[in-house]
């Protein structure tokens, strides 16, 4: 129960407790070592999970609620979720199910936009009901992401699909674009739901449950307690020098992210290109079969053979189409999501670890500073603050770094699984495609040889 104990220490360190005033637990200071020893936690949580009451208690507390960190996503709607990570877990640990569907167009005098229906099913106590249905537009998702980033500057927030796609997109609202976006938004919310910390974020809860007018008024409020705290952490981290922050680890992460970013971008480009080539191949193949039918009209002795060839080609054509759609369902969205991830990983690193030189540091301080937190930042002469407070701040930064490291490990693990699954799926699609084509042509051959044998036996006296 080590984690538990640690968590209950956090409120006493002078920070406003996360759970006490209805704010979502886990939204405040990240818990030291909590995500890092997640596997350990898992076992502990399993024990805790037996009682409904225990669940309630923990959900109100500012303590660890790691129950959702590794649970697989269960499709609760006709729309199936693919590429969800499965670790060692039990499906029944998951208590928050989200689906995004039904894109609808709304036209006002000023603008046209799309909203998506979001259905949330949950058994958590802090939710007023067990089922919610709301409509949200892309802007709202952006807002949510922003809030999460503010509140948890050292965590890896899932990426949102792009605002626009520059290449090849003529119409903002064409069906493919909307569908791709819908899937990505669905992924986004589920990733948050699966994240041990983010899942309890208050803004997240409001996003899922509030009516439209409630959300607008909530948005208008100033930065919450959490964002202010987030700012603090950021400011402190960026201004501190000489923090013994395990530079080798950092360098390792840094190198990895740079290379990963490069590679995943390339893989994204390659995969998109493959899709394009397959589509063009499919378009040409569609014309190929019918020519044989045309030909059969002028060849009396070859009618059957030509017609059979035409039907084989058509069947292979359909198989190609299926392969293409498999690619666009399985591989492309996954790879693309990781491209977006890779774009935001570097900035997170540089917030936590003071890498960019002096000028940048100063810029960061400038950006983060707020009159309310000014008192907490170091100036050149840092004699104003009491050693105690310094110590606490150092602790905080230490926590932040640990949280990132833990989240980083979690993210990496997810990434490896997702990539592995996506490519395995792609291989599977290709195998299936070739098997189908093989069967088609083999049966053609057999029919031709049978025909031949028949003819031969007919010729015999």
């Amino acid at each position: 129960m080590e984690g538990e104990r640690r968590a209950s220490q956090a409120p006493s360190s002078g920070l406003p407790a996360g759970g006490a005033n209805g704010e979502s637990p886990g939204g405040g200071a990240p818990f030291p070592g909590s995500s890092g020893s997640s596997a350990l936690l898992q076992a502990e949580v399993l024990d805790l999970d037996e009682d409904e009451d225990d669940l309630e208690v923990f959900s109100k507390d500012a303590s660890l609620m790691d129950m959702n960190s590794f649970s697989p996503m269960m499709p609760t709607s006709p729309l199936s979720m693919i590429n969800q990570i499965k670790f060692e877990d039990e499906p029944d640990l998951k208590d928050l199910f989200i689906t995004v569907d039904e894109p609808e167009s709304h036209v006002t005098t000023i603008e046209t936009f799309i909203t998506y229906r979001i259905i949330t099913k949950t058994s958590r106590g802090e939710f007023d009901s067990s089922e919610f249905e709301v409509r949200r537009r892309y802007q709202d998702f952006l807002w949510l992401k922003g809030k999460l980033e503010e509140a948890h500057p050292t965590l890896i927030i899932p990426p949102l699909p792009e605002k626009f796609i520059v290449k090849g997109m003529v119409e903002r609202f064409n069906d493919d674009f909307i569908e791709t976006r819908r899937k990505a938004l669905h992924k986004f919310l589920n990733r948050i739901a699966d994240h041990p910390t983010l899942t309890f974020n208050e803004d997240f809860k409001i996003f899922l449950t509030a009516q439209a007018w409630e959300l607008s008024s909530h948005k208008k409020q100033g930065p919450g307690l959490l964002s202010r705290m987030g700012q603090t952490v950021r400011a402190v981290a960026s201004s501190m020098r000489g923090v013994k922050n395990r530079p080798e680890e950092f360098m390792e992460m840094n190198n990895f992210i740079e290379l990963f970013s490069q590679k995943i971008n390339l893989i994204d480009k390659i995969s998109q290109r493959i899709y394009k080539e397959e589509r063009e191949y499919f378009d040409e193949m569609k014309e190929y079969g019918p020519i044989h039918i045309l030909w059969s009209a002028s060849e009396e002795d070859l009618v059957d053979t030509l017609k059979d060839v035409a039907s084989c080609i058509d069947r292979c054509c359909k198989a190609t189409e299926k392969r293409m759609s498999g690619l666009s369902e399985a591989l492309l969205p996954v790879v693309h999501e990781y491209v977006l991830y890779s774009e935001m990983l570097m900035p997170i690193l540089s917030v936590c670890f003071n890498v960019k030189g002096v000028m940048k540091r100063r810029d960061q301080i400038q950006a983060e500073l707020d009159s309310k937190v000014e008192v907490l930042t170091y100036k050149k002469a840092d004699t104003d603050l009491l050693p105690e407070e310094i110590g606490k701040l150092e602790d905080k930064v230490e926590c932040a770094n640990n949280a990132l490291k833990a989240d980083w490990e979690r993210w990496k693990q997810n990434m490896q699984n997702d990539i592995k699954l996506a490519f395995t799926d792609m291989a599977e699609e290709n195998i299936h495609y070739y098997e189908q084509c093989l069967a088609t042509w083999e049966s053609f051959l057999t029919s031709q040889t049978n025909l031949h044998l028949e003819e031969a036996s007919e010729d015999k006296p």
């Binding site: 493959i274 020519i291 002028s298 060849e299 070859l302 053979t305 292979c316 195998i431 495609y433 070739y434």
Partner: protein, 441 residues
């Protein structure tokens, strides 16, 4: 037909060369095989003849205008194979260039108008997809042309009538002076220049329906095969793209594997399989090119069919013209004899305007006309005979051609299926290996 066909046109003019009629002229009546095979079966003769175009070589020389030119020469080897022990002996070997093949074919077209003369491989690369070169000097093109030329010779050698032609025999055996020999036959003079006027139409009053149908068929065949080849080339292009892009995965995976501890090995070996996949398309498409060549041969055969139809059309036209001419002469004669003018003639008009002719003049004219009529009747008779012979011989060859075509095309389509199967099997293997690597990551 064991003897050379009584070529109607030749009967009208002295033929400097007689095609050889006896089997021991050096070429057995070999039964044909299609495409790439080099061997034939004998039909009752002790020696088999094997023809192959075994090599191609780039040469430079001076052309007719004394300008330097580069061309490709092809080595033709003729072997005679003892039926009993199967040993082959090289009997002849010489080098020919494409233009000489063309000359041979032009000659055959003139001397055997009722035969569907096998076509030559294309002069310039057509239906090219992007990877294939359209350059005549490109080694792949040259190689495919070599095979096409060999096929051409084998087709002739396996044709019951064409194989006995002396010029063909000399083509295989007499290197120097062959061109002069061909030209001495005077075949260019005999060639009906009207046949070259492709757009000229000859209004035939009583067209032979069979030939009309055949012409339609050859048009359709040409159109559908061209279309098919064009689309096939585009499909090949796209397929090439799909395969080759996967090769990029190989490179990226291998670079990525350097930073991944756990996934590293899986990525690396998966990348290798992606490379294998990408490079497999080259062989696949090369095989498909052979299939395309088989179809192309029949594309050009369509032209040969059309040529026979046109010759027939021309014959028919000449026949009708001759008959018409004869009829009008008879008419004129009758009018002169009976003194009635039923038809308009310039002579008649001038006579009316400028006075009658003397009885002696009239007699003379009647005599001339009667002679012409006689001649005309002879000619018509022989033309009719010619025509019937032509039709008979042509149809015999067309039937032979049809059977050959059905066999060949069916085999080509089956070989296409075999190629697809091989491609699928390769695909399954590569992706199964890749999948294993991925799942081990």
């Amino acid at each position: 037909m064991e003897q050379a066909p009584p070529d109607p046109e030749r009967q009208l003019q002295p033929a400097p060369l007689e095609p050889l009629g006896s089997p021991d002229a050096g070429l057995g009546a070999a039964v044909g095989k299609e495409a790439e095979g080099a061997g034939e079966e004998s039909s009752g003769v002790d020696t088999k003849i094997e023809i192959s175009v075994s090599e191609a070589e780039k040469r430079t020389g001076r052309n007719a205008m004394n300008m330097q030119e580069t061309y490709t020469a092809y080595l033709i080897e003729t072997r005679s194979v003892e039926h009993t022990d199967g040993q082959s002996v090289l009997t002849d070997s010489l080098w020919r260039r494409y233009s000489e093949f063309e000359l041979l074919r032009s000659y055959l077209l003139v001397y055997y108008p009722h035969i569907v003369v096998p076509p030559l491989p294309e002069k310039r690369a057509e239906f090219v997809w992007h990877k294939l070169s359209a350059d005549n000097m490109d080694p792949d093109f040259v190689e495919r042309r070599r095979i096409g030329l060999e096929n051409f010779l084998l087709r002739i050698a396996s044709h019951p009538i064409l194989c006995r032609d002396k010029i063909f025999y000399l083509f295989l055996t007499q290197e120097g002076n062959w061109k002069e020999t061909v030209n001495e036959t005077g075949f260019q003079l005999k060639a009906d220049s009207r046949l070259k006027a492709l757009n000229a139409t000859f209004r035939v009053k009583n067209p032979d329906k069979r030939f009309t149908d055949l012409k339609h068929y050859s048009d359709e065949l040409q159109s559908v095969i061209s279309h098919l080849l064009r689309v096939r080339a585009r499909v090949a292009d796209r397929l090439y793209g799909v395969y080759k892009v996967h090769g990029n995965y190989g490179r990226v995976f291998s670079e990525w594997s350097a930073i991944e501890k756990e996934m590293g090995d899986g990525l690396q070996s998966a990348g290798h399989h992606m490379d294998v996949y990408a490079s497999s398309i080259d062989d696949i498409l090369e095989d498909e090119e052979h299939y395309a060549d088989q179809l192309k041969e029949y594309l050009f055969y369509a032209e040969a069919l059309r040529a026979v139809c046109r010759k027939h059309e021309l014959m028919q036209y000449d026949l009708e013209m001759a008959a018409q001419d004869l009829a009008s002469k008879k008419q004129q004669c009758e009018e002169l004899v009976t003194g009635t003018v039923r038809t308009f003639s310039l002579k008649g008009m001038t006579t009316k305007l400028f006075g009658q002719e003397t009885p002696e003049q009239r007699e003379a004219r009647i005599k001339v006309l009667e002679e012409q009529i006689n001649e005309g009747e002879q000619q018509l008779k022989s033309k009719n005979l010619e025509g019937r012979e032509f039709v008979k011989n042509a149809w015999a060859d067309i039937e032979r051609f049809k059977e050959q075509k059905n066999r060949d095309l069916k085999e080509a389509l089956i070989s296409y299926a075999v190629m697809q199967i091989s491609m699928c099997k390769k695909g399954i293997q590569v992706w199964t290996n890749a999948k294993e690597c991925f799942s081990k990551m």
